[in-house]
Each structure stands twice: as C-alpha cells, then as structure tokens.
Amino acid sequence: MSPTLALLARELRLSLRSGGGAGLGLAFFLIVVLLVPFGVGPVPSLLAQIAPGTLWVAALLATLLSLDRLFQADFEDGTLDILTLSPMPLEGLVAIKAFAHWLTTGLPLIVAAPVLALTLNLPDPAFFWLVTSLAAGTPALNFLGAIGASLTVGIRRGGLLLSLLVLPLYIPTLIFGASAVSAAADGADPMPAFLLLAGITLFTLALTPFAAAAALRMHMR
C-alpha cells in the first residue's frame, strides 16, 4: 500500500469510528437548517429569499464542528511526531488529512443540501447551482480550516480560538457561494460568482499545505 493510500484509509476509518465526528457535522447541518423556518416563520417567499445564505452559513458552521480534532488528536497521542519522520513530506500529509476531512464532512453536506433546500422553498433553477457551488466551495472550508487547526494545535480549548481564526477567512467563500445560488434563484447569471468561488478554492488548495505545514513546524520548536 502506498503511503498516501495508507494515510487516507486511516483518516477515513478514524472519522467513521466512534468519536470521529463524520456524522456530527451532517446532523448539525440538518438541525440548524430545519430550525430556521421556526425562527423566521413559515412564509414561503421569505424562506426562498434567505435559503441560499442560510444553507451556506449552516455549511460553514457544520465544517467548523470537527475541525479542532484534525491535528489535535494526532498531537496528543504522539502520532504527529512519528508522522513528521515518515517519508511523506508534511505538506502532503496536511493535504491528505484535509482532503479526508472534506470527504467525511464536506461531501455529506453537498448530498443533504438539496433535500434541506426543499424545506426552505428554494426556487427550482437554483438547485443545480446550490449543489455545484457547495461542491466547488466546501473544499476551501476544510482546507482553510486545516490552517486554523494547525495554528491552534496544542492549545487547550483551541477549538474556540480556531473558530475565531477561521470564520473571518470563510467570508469570501460565503459571499460568492451564496450569491451564485441567489443569482440562479433570481434568474440572473450565476457564473461570475461561481468562477470567483472556484478561484478562491483553487487558491486555498494551493496555499494550505504550505501554510499549515509551516504552522505545525513552528509549533514543534
């Protein structure tokens, strides 16, 4: 088995076992979105208007939920030390861990989002763009989160600090993700917002491995 596959298989296995938190983010996403109609009242036109933003904000929060364990668990049981000695560069390690985190927390959100959009009365033409924008945008959430998780590794109650660090970084993804869906719902062209969203994700994917690996190295000093 290649090192990459070995690490990916382990990450997936761990997140699906008890305490892994794969189902947690999804359940949180479902509950938050289902709570919104109770809060704002069952007015279909109002719900349709706030649906894109609500779904995107809920996706951000659901991603945050399990981020704090991304490196913290490996740090606490000594695995991180051993991983730095492995033949795989730390940058590759960060990328694989963040990718596995996306597979277990981001992907389920994309699958569940259209179902939840029904409860918020999202207009029909926006469904395709909701799924597409989440597919293009959620990897950025996991990868930006990996930077935050690497900066707060070893800090007690680092999860709270992590949220404060990472949420502001999510703003561009949120703006362009939600506005692509809104544009599609209003019959406008969603492409400009979608392309910017995809651009942010690509930039994040390229930057994160180096930034997070540098933060982890700094922490070991």
């Binding site: 070995a6 000594g78 000695l85 033949p87 000093r221």
Partner: protein, 217 residues
Amino acid sequence: MSLNATDLTCYRSGRLIFSGLSFSLENGQATMLRGPNGVGKSTLLRVLAGVLEADGEVELNGTRLSGDRDAVQEQIAYAGHLDAIKPQLTVAENLTFWAGLFGGRIEDAVEQFSLAEIWDRPAHACSAGQKRRLGLARLMVSERPLWLLDEPTVSLDVETTARFAGIIAQHCAAGGMALIATHIDLGLANPQELLLHPLTEAQHAETADPFLSEDWT
C-alpha cells in the same frame, strides 16, 4: 554510518536544558543515555529526531540536520513516551497503517512482539504493556537504521524486556544504531554509555528569555 552531535544547546520556554553537548555514535552500537530525571534525555532524543529545535549541529552519515532535515529524518525511527496508537483502531489496523506509511514488512514485528494473540483487538482494550509492544513493533516495521528510544521498557514484563533487548542487539549487529534513554540495565553485551550531567547553579540561571531574567522576577 555515524551520528555526530556538536555543541548542542537547547532552551525550552527560555530555560536552558543542556548546553555544549557533543558526542558521537558509531556503526553497530547501542548507547545507553543516562542521567537523573529532568536532565534533558527526552529533549535530547527529540532534538536528534529533528522534532525540536536546538543550537549546534547534528550530523547523521555526513548529512547535517540543519541542511537537509528530511534526508536525516528518513533514517530515524523514534519511540517516545507516547505510543502513537489510535485507540479506535485495532492492533492490526494500527500496525498496517504504519507499515503502509513507512513501506516496511510486518511479519517479523508481529512475531517478535507476540502481536498475533491481540491482532484483532481494538487498541483501547489493550493493556499498557500490550500497547507498548505495539508501539515498539513500529520500530521494526519502519526499517530505519537509527533508533531513538525514550524509556522503551516502561510497562513491559521481564520476558518481553529481555526479548526487546535481543531485538536491539540484532538491529545493531545488522549495522544499525540505537540511542536508548533508560534507567534499567537492558543486559546488552558491552553497551556504550552517554551520561548527561545536571546543570550547575550558574547555568540554571542562564536564560534566553529576557522576561525570565532576575530583573523581571
């Protein structure tokens, strides 16, 4: 192969741990790292493994740690106080993961550390000694020439300790090296000793952090 450390000085949180430490290890040698508690044995091992920063130079087979950290680290297997075991995974899953990552074979390790009997057991259901056996099995799986071991025999029974000493001897006979921080006698044939001395009073006061100097406290 050889390991040379020159003038190592390490501060942790602004406090001096050790300074001016120089030594060298030769091919096929097991070296016992000894010294009282708190003298910096664990810190030294972590510095040599490249997971902690220190002043001075570490050279493994002529490659400098400060020059090419990856090339040095790829010759090192480190076993610290923590076993690096995931309690949610079984013994088999833990070991095959390390084997997959480091690209080694697991058969010998399973036999030498008697892991077959606990092979399918979740690691959280293993005793401390069994976890330690699994943690040490990683050394054989990773197939690295230099072993850095920090109190490897903690919670091992007498029989396993003796067998582990045999494994170290075998590793060194095959041209490997081992630096072992331990307080017990492993029973190796003529091992080298590296003794760390406690700091003097004056050194204790020495600090790299201006906020810890006397004017501030």
